[in-house]
């Protein structure tokens, strides 16, 4: 199948390893991601004031751009997913905002595009059984903590395609790859999000709570689905070893990096070397790279 793909600003720059692993893994699964031409940033946060229609223009433009060539849009960055999905819902349900936005950007969009997250696409369009059959290098014995964060879960009625309190789609995918998903409590807790820009020490502590929960559950690696979650969880671990006694660093990968490796693809372009906690010794010890 073919589907329009929105990389978003971070996957086009800091998250290139994520982007490349997504494109290659999806191609290996028989899904061709067609990059949306002339795309723009979604805004990286859904505007929460009822009269803030201006901040909906960016994501609305992405949806309008998609509608000209496709009725489906997928994205790997879960923040983009959250913003696009919620904006689309507003455009479907709020006649007043729909009219104002259409007038402003000179379009006639009714909210017809279906927005999906890449994990959702893998689950619903490819199927975990088919993924299992395509595995060339099973992740045998790798204890993985699947981290969902906020963006694919909340608000549940607007964005969730999984159980918002105990999601399992990512655990199911990891199991299909041959890994051992650990049971842990912080899989849906916030990493600190944009607080990192203003109060990094608070984001750091929020991330510590996620990391330590994964470690306590016996995980060897955490997989993330959002570049900001990945950064917040990964970035401060050296500092955390100094401030939190007994803390042991744990690598944080994008789930698609592990997916691509399990599918037998060459991880040379996935920027594993750019992660703050080097995941390569672990992957080497498991015979995966």
């Amino acid at each position: 199948m073919k589907i329009s793909y929105f990389p978003g600003c971070t996957l086009n720059t800091k998250g290139k390893g994520f982007d490349r692993s997504v494109r290659e893994a999806m191609a290996a699964l028989g899904v061709e991601l067609v990059e949306l031409p002339d795309w723009n940033c979604c805004g990286a946060s859904f505007p929460l004031l009822v009269d803030n229609v201006l901040d909906l223009v960016g994501p609305a433009r992405v949806l309008i751009n998609t509608a000209a060539r496709d009725n489906k849009l997928t994205t790997a960055c879960t923040t983009c997913y959250n913003v696009l999905k919620r904006t689309n819902r507003v455009l479907r349900e709020d006649e007043n905002i729909r009219e104002r936005l259409n007038y402003f950007v000179e379009a006639d969009y009714q909210g017809q595009v279906e927005v999906s997250d890449i994990l959702q696409l893998i689950r619903d369009e490819v199927g975990f059984e088919k993924v299992k059959e395509a595995v060339k290098k099973p992740l045998n014995g790798l204890r993985v903590a699947s981290y969902y964060g906020c963006m694919v879960l909340r608000p549940p009625r607007e964005v969730a395609y999984d159980d918002p309190e105990n999601p399992h789609a990512l655990d199911d995918l990891m199991a299909a790859l041959g890994a051992e998903p650990v049971r842990w409590g912080a899989k849906a807790e916030c990493c600190g999000n944009y607080l990192v820009a203003r109060k990094p020490e608070v984001a750091m502590e929020m991330s510590y709570r996620v990391l330590s929960s994964a470690s306590r559950a016996g995980a060897e690696v955490i997989v993330a689905n959002c570049p900001l979650c990945q950064f917040n969880l990964d970035r401060w671990q050296r500092d955390l070893t100094l401030t939190h006694g007994g803390f042991e660093p744990i690598p944080v990968l994008y789930f698609t990096q592990l997916l691509a490796i399990a599918l037998g693809l060459d991880p040379g372009g996935y920027e594993l070397e750019k992660h703050y906690v080097d995941p390569r010794p672990l992957l080497e010890s498991k015979g995966l790279i």
Binding site: L49, Y194, R198, K199
Partner: protein
């Protein structure tokens, strides 16, 4: 001769009305169960708990809330909204409060205050979302 004193204009004052308008939320829907405070992942850093923010707003104490650190520690993770039995979207109320505080005191994030090495390391979305939340 008796004088009737109405507390309405003190409690449901103009600032409270603006919070309601900007957030689209009914502050009186909250019955103080505390679910939001119990689940908030940033509560450890807050001087007012999320449920206390709503309680103060119900009592018209907007200035006290605008002067608290809490409104800047909400990461809009929406855990409170997902769990609120009354469907109050507290993250929208927090956004309205940030808006009012910045109308009063100006932007709270300047790019010159972010260390250069962090600015270079941040994923783009951290910078974009940060400036959307902390500047007008």
């Amino acid at each position: 001769m008796s004088t009737v004193v109405s507390l309405e204009k003190y409690i449901h004052n103009d600032l409270v009305r603006r919070v309601e308008e900007l957030s689209g939320q009914d502050l009186l829907a909250c019955y103080q169960c505390g679910e939001c405070s119990a689940g908030c992942p940033a509560a450890f850093a807050m001087d007012l708990l999320p449920s206390q923010v709503i309680r103060l707003l119900q009592l018209g104490q907007v200035e006290e809330v605008l002067n608290s650190a809490t409104i800047w520690f909400c990461a809009a993770c929406q855990t409170c909204y997902a769990r609120c039995p009354k469907g109050v979207d507290l993250s929208r109320i927090m956004e309205a409060l940030r808006e009012l505080a910045m109308e009063r005191d100006g932007d709270t994030l300047k790019h010159t205050e972010i260390p250069k090495e962090e600015l270079e390391a941040f994923p783009q979305q951290a910078i974009i979302a940060g400036f959307r939340k902390y500047t007008l």
